[in-house]
């Protein structure tokens, strides 16, 4: 399985990842929580080889092959799929063409069966398969982006902020599908989310990222019962003073 060992990623002189290690467990959902700019997306992009000449230090292993420094096109062929933040469907291609692009690396006759599988997960895409992807709603585009990644039949799927800009109802639907994909297809999933509630409700293991490093890790139950996570990520205030205002400002333990 995928293992990230102590990687550091630089954007020019700015260090975005400061020594991150991560191990995905097979057929499980792993979530990374964190605020804007914590480095979550950077981590995925580094693994996918999308940031040129990075990681600066450290190594990324898939099974017993080292994959850092490889081209994105080759990393994809090893079975890693990436659903980018903000969906990024091909707006001027039809829904069907978008899905077929997902299967670009796979030759032969798998296409039909996979298409059926994706349409089974997202019946709405089947209705709109001749429509230009740019004319879909945000939720449909997110479904399309996930469906397109599933057309690769990936071993590991990276999901970057699938809830971004969607209504609570749609978010629930998307997360339901994520759980379904994980259970039915056995796809290992790495989920990057700001919506901590949702992410913790589906994942088997979670990490909290701040300023380019992991500050906390554990099962969702452990994380949910952690006081700092509760206050800073779940928005549950642990203690309200009798006078109705907070007496002191909590400090995060890990700083």
């Amino acid at each position: 399985m995928l293992e990230v060992r102590n990687i550091e990623t630089l954007y020019g002189l700015v260090m975005a990842l400061r020594g991150v290690s991560l191990k995905l467990s097979e057929n499980k959902i792993t979530a990374i929580l964190g605020a804007n700019g914590a480095g979550k997306s950077t981590l995925i992009k580094t693994v996918m080889g999308l940031i040129e000449d990075q990681p600066d230090k450290g190594a990324i292993w898939l099974d017993d092959k080292r994959i850092d420094g490889k081209d994105t096109e080759d990393i994809v062929r090893l079975g890693l799929a990436y659903v980018p933040e903000g969906r990024e469907v091909f707006e001027e291609l039809t829904v069907l063409e978008n899905l077929l692009m997902g299967a670009y690396t796979r030759g032969g006759s798998h296409g039909k069966a996979d298409l059926k599988m994706v349409y089974g997960l997202f019946p709405r895409l089947a209705e709109r398969q001749r429509q230009l992807a740019g004319t879909l709603s945000g939720g449909e585009q997110q479904m399309l982006a996930i469906g397109r990644a599933l057309m690769m039949r990936p071993r590991i799927m990276f999901l970057d902020e699938p809830s971004l800009g969607l209504s609570p109802l749609l978010v629930r639907e998307i997360f339901h599908t994520i759980r379904l994909v994980n259970r039915e297809l056995g796809t290992t999933i790495l989920l990057v989310e700001q919506n901590a509630n949702m992410a913790l409700s589906v994942c088997h293991h979670g990490y909290v990222m701040e300023n380019g490093r992991f500050v906390l890790a554990g099962t969702p139950q452990e994380l949910m019962s952690d006081e700092d996570v509760r206050e800073f990520y779940l928005g549950v205030r642990s203690e309200v003073s009798v006078k109705g205002f907070q007496r002191y400002k909590r400090k995060k333990r890990w700083r």
Binding site: L50, T72, P84, F90, L93, M101, Y104, T105
Partner: protein, 291 residues
Amino acid sequence: MFSQLIISGIAIGATYALMALAMVIIYKTSEVLNFAQGDMAMLSAFVAYFILEDQGLGFAAAFPLALLFAFCLGAVLEFGFLRRAKEPTVLGLIIITLGLQMILYGLASWRWGSDQKNFPFPVSDFEVHEILPGAVISDLNLVTLGWALLLMLLLFAFFRYTKLGVAMKATQQNHVVARIMGIRVNRILMLTWGISSMVGASAAFLIASTDTLDPNLMWNPQLKGFSAAVLGGMTSLPGAVAGGFILGVIENLFGGYVSVEFKSVVAFAVIVLILCVRPSGLFARHYVRKV
């Protein structure tokens, strides 16, 4: 007179259409306007001439070989020059194509000189058919017309129905996501340049056979082809072809009835007019990005 002007206009328009197709193919995948397009085609025509006259091979060998040369030329230019640009902007790439144009022009002038040569062609421009009373069309015109339409259909089908064609469109829209799909973007760009260069070269053969061959051969057709492509919306293959025909006909009518000297100018006046009414061109189906 009128019908003859229309027919000659369509015939000349077919060559514009071919040049427009060539430009649109590259624009479709990389949003780069290729100003070297005309001179890539001109050089290929010189290579065909070289094979025909100096090597003494027949048409059946010369044209396929020259087209192969055109494909390689396009691929090499992309690989050797455009890909070397570090973190390129579209503007920078366009300037590179301008530079390439000058290099190719210089190369052809140096090797073959600037005197006009007769370009042999298997089909004659003087064998004519009277298709309407008082209006004739030559064999060469018919071949040009047929070739332009055939290429348009082939390319249209390629972009619509083949995986590679769709991947080319995907590449144009978003290079990064195309890479995430496993599409080897660099290879796609190289292929695009090759195909486009071949389309342009075929136009150059046809133009050189009605005219004479010299390094300035493609100067005018490239400008017209570019205008035709803009008229058609820059990304639409049928649009490019229609644009070529419209331009050819209008230009010819103006030349016939008003003034031959200003024949070329009117084409651009028409473009300005049409772009005022439909800024994205006549046939573009450009999706407007939601913000």
